[in-house]
Symmetry: D2
């Protein structure tokens, strides 16, 4: 019998922590050893998350109480800004998958500009591998520290990276109009995400100022081979899970929407988690709820030189905890789909 990974989840009381637990409890090689929580230390998990009451999980402890000698893999679900120092203090033998934004921007000056303070672990940043699995699989395999991608960036990069690499779309004028469920805002009690403030309405936020923009641009620039600036507008939708990104692109000369579809089809032919929408189906987030799937639809615009891409993911799975488990599978040599094959919960 294969050895299990002994796992610690830092910040297990939030939504990405709970989602990691949902997935890892079904993982044959995961042994959940430690869960930490800031304000919730000392509580049994069933009090923090009643739906996890019967899973036999350890109670939450303070971060300082974890003995890393017995830990092989750390998932870090702490808020950004707090994470750099925590991870810098971890012993070298643990593999780390960080779900915060703290290690996603390779350029620490860009980080400082968008996050308002200097990077607190610049040396470690050099070691971090950006964890968009389908694009950086080889580097992830050998990584010790993986910066798990943001939810919006995942939904933007998966359709755009292959098209930019293939030169099928212009680098300029890319517009990403993204719509997200409320779990993306986390479990901290804030007025703006109360049920009564969200239900029955839609709003935009962070217009032309959201911190996921530089993360998107970093990876698109890599694909394009040149710096990129995109237009990115996130919206808050009255639903729990899911991101739908509607992406407007200009085709390069003589290219068609069909060329884009073919290129994406080729790029992801062997990928278990990235799919093109079936003929005649416009992707909706229901298709991927609870799964690690990313579904992409390609549409010709009425303006001949333009196309529209629609990309859906579950922000808590492929946009966070699912991709984190996928990265753990890659880092530890397990089949990449381990614990990630469950079907969508619909309705």
């Amino acid at each position: 019998m294969e050895k299990k990974q002994r796992i610690a989840i830092l910040g297990a009381g939030g939504y990405t922590g709970a989602e990691l637990l949902r997935l890892l409890l079904a993982h044959p090689f995961a042994d959940i050893r430690a869960l930490t929580g800031q304000t919730q230390a000392g509580k049994p998990m069933g009090e923090v998350y009643p739906h996890l009451a019967y899973a036999g999980l350890p109670a939450l402890v303070e971060t300082a109480a974890v003995d890393y000698k017995d830990i092989d893999v750390v998932f870090c679900c702490l808020p950004h800004g707090q994470t750099q120092e925590v991870i810098a203090a971890l012993p070298r033998h643990v593999k780390i998958i960080d779900l915060s934004a703290d290690f996603r921007l390779a350029d620490t000056q860009v980080y400082a500009q968008w996050y308002g303070h200097d990077h607190r672990a610049p040396v470690l940043q050099k070691e971090a591998v950006y964890g968009l699995t389908e694009i950086h699989r080889a580097a992830i395999r050998d990584a010790r520290l993986v910066a798990n991608p943001g939810c919006y960036p995942t939904s933007a990069q998966l359709p755009l990276v292959p098209l930019l690499k293939a030169g099928l779309i212009e680098r300029e004028g890319i517009i990403i109009d993204a719509k997200s469920g409320v779990t993306g805002a986390g479990r901290a009690a804030k007025q703006g995400t109360l049920f009564c403030e969200v239900d029955g309405g839609i709003s935009a936020y962070g217009v032309a100022s959201h911190r996921h923009a530089p993360e998107i641009e970093q990876e698109l620039a890599l694909a394009a081979g040149r710096p990129m600036v995109v237009t990115f507008t996130p919206h808050l939708v009255p639903m729990n899970r899911g991101i739908l990104s509607t992406i407007y692109v200009t085709l390069t000369k003589s290219k068609t929407a069909q060329n884009l579809a073919q290129a994406l089809s080729r790029a992801y032919a062997d990928e278990p988690f990235v799919k093109l929408a079936p003929e005649g189906v416009t992707p909706g987030t229901h298709m991927v709820r609870g799964t690690n799937l990313c579904v992409i639809g390609v549409f010709a615009d009425r303006i001949p030189s333009r196309a529209i891409l629609i990309c859906v993911i579950d922000n808590l799975v492929k946009g966070a905890s699912g991709q984190a488990v996928q990265n753990m599978n890659v880092m530890c040599g397990y089949p990449e789909t381990t614990a990630l094959t469950q079907g969508a919960l619909f309705p």
Copy 2:
């Protein structure tokens, strides 16, 4: 005491019919005389709409049973395709506000192309006035037949028309990414709008093929003085009411987002129903739920030559029945805000 308008609502069993009733029941010069319903003829209104059970409304009758001698104003809420012949058969003394799409496209060839059949009342089409009140008020005042605008077009035209007129934005590359509540799909029983199909997810539909595109383009072309083609993508959001349109535009030379805001501010300075978002507020549909308001926000993009407009309306009010009452007020010489001053229902 001023004479009341005797009113008939054709197709009163749908959502726009119910919303007309909500508004007209509070209108001091409205006398609701006849309500028609196709399958529901014979039913008391309280059975069709329990929330209207106590309003003392007449029972639904068949369209043919209305005696138009006693009617001054007809609101027509029938499905498109059925409306042209019904309206053509109405006597000349009634004022008509048509909430369907049947008389919105001035060019009957464009109509035929998008709706798949010849226009059934082409002579009457010449008489129809497009009812975007703020833009066509003078013509509406003298009209006998007003084609009440579509919900998406209202949310796109109100921000864009003044900017195109003033030459502040390029005619090309306008992208309208629109998100709508489910009432826009009507009350007919369809699998796609069942609660369980919609709740908890978001989807796009009619990508590059929605029939509101030519309606939007018709009015923008009028404003720009030249033909227009726009990119328009509607989305279905799990909420009852509201449209939020995120509109991406390119500025003409040396113009700024601030110029756009100033132009809109000037254009709508005396308008009771069109407002710029307060400083620091990103418009959301909650701001306008149940009201005839349109709120517009203007944002500079990170790309200097571009701007983002966000426009919110309640699709059933300013996007349908509220604008219809506004048009009735204009046609009948009442103060334009009569019966339209209620505040938003939030939460």
Copy 3:
């Protein structure tokens, strides 16, 4: 022209405050002079509630900053426990309608038992009139301090009081199974009322321990002429507004459900806001959303001696701010329906 009441709303930043503003802005005799907020003092109302941005309201101030010389009526929307001392400090010339629970329990010992501290204004308690308008109208007319009823108690007392008075139902074994929208929990940021915690699920809370139980029992005991204990279970439903109380009662000898319906019909024959459900209609909260209505349905159980009452209100209107305005109308001599005639917002 009639003199307007100069009004202050204490705690205007919460949901009952916003709902008071929605109603009072349409009140011909209301002049809103002062709005207070604890943490939000100094903010313009449009920042606290964007949907109120265009109403021309004064900015929020601290409670201490209100000059009561210019105030005729105070609506107090502060949390319970804080309210007794604030109201005790108000000058005698102002009329006060308190929406908290602080003055609802006539017996200060019962108050102390359920709220965990001594009543802080026991003398003032003697003066307070319980404001269930239909039941205590005469006393409200002469009151200086009205304790506006709780939302659950309103939905339980309106159907039960006339039946107990008439001896048609047994005092024992009354079960009130109540389902409420989330606005009942207020606008304070709490994890339990985050969108993601509430959407897509239903839960019970405060089983056999909710503080509205003694309030319900106080008024039922008055009606029955003897002490009462009821079974009361509240539930949290993923919707913003509305309470539906399903009430199970035992009929007294030889009585039928029809007798109950007749008695309620008689009791509320002249009441503008309390209605029996139309024949064949099972009441739902949609019927009353945004209105001051209470709709009651009476059903025979399959067990001959038992009946089921279903009562719906909008918890923010008849269950809070609407009844408060109704009480102001009574206290100030205005027609009782002033500013309360708007129709339900459905869908």
Copy 4:
């Protein structure tokens, strides 16, 4: 390698069909061979249910097109009334799990009374075993035809059966106030279950007349050893999944709520799917969403002789398709939890 069961699902286009597919696709011994649909025959599953597009499922066919020679197990998800004749026509070698109500009532006269027509397969009815697994496991093991329980009955019977068997609660005066998500109403397009009719409100329906009442009473009577009549009121909640039943009972002499909790704890000590709520947790449907779990809370009422039980299930899983798979596992000799161990999807 163990032989797989070759499975046909009749009526696979509805919600219980889709849920069976979600579960069976993860079942190591299930081989899905045939899917039927009435109006949808000929369509690929990805068109009927886009979220199942990538599962490699066969296209829907007409019921008559299934060759039962190659089928071992039939799940029947047809509407009630249509099912008796279809099942009567199946060959004797197939095991059948019927999710409709057609074989649940052992007494065909009771069936006729509640369903308005004579039972169409009375001989087969004698053979049918009522499939509440925890209660009738032994009979299910040997059954050829299992009548899978209704969703409401499952939520009422699991808490009540052990208590009645043990004589801890009175047979009289049991009240079941049940709240259900909308999937319980099925996928057929009906006005009453449109998003806009359901969202933002709660309503009761079938008051004292719902067809699940005799099914509940049949099993409770078995447990009590005498006929039973209960009060049962279902409500429609704006959520997709979940049933919460609040059950009011009278304790037999000198019994306490704690006695009930102990009895339930003992009765279900070895059951993998029935759990008592952890200390201090009031059960909500979120705890069980997507799982085959039933969670029960027991509460003392303030009236000493009374107690309140709260029972939550996912109506599509333990209330339908999950229990069906559980029954298949029992009938075929697989471990009962096979394919039923996934955790709750929350949020």
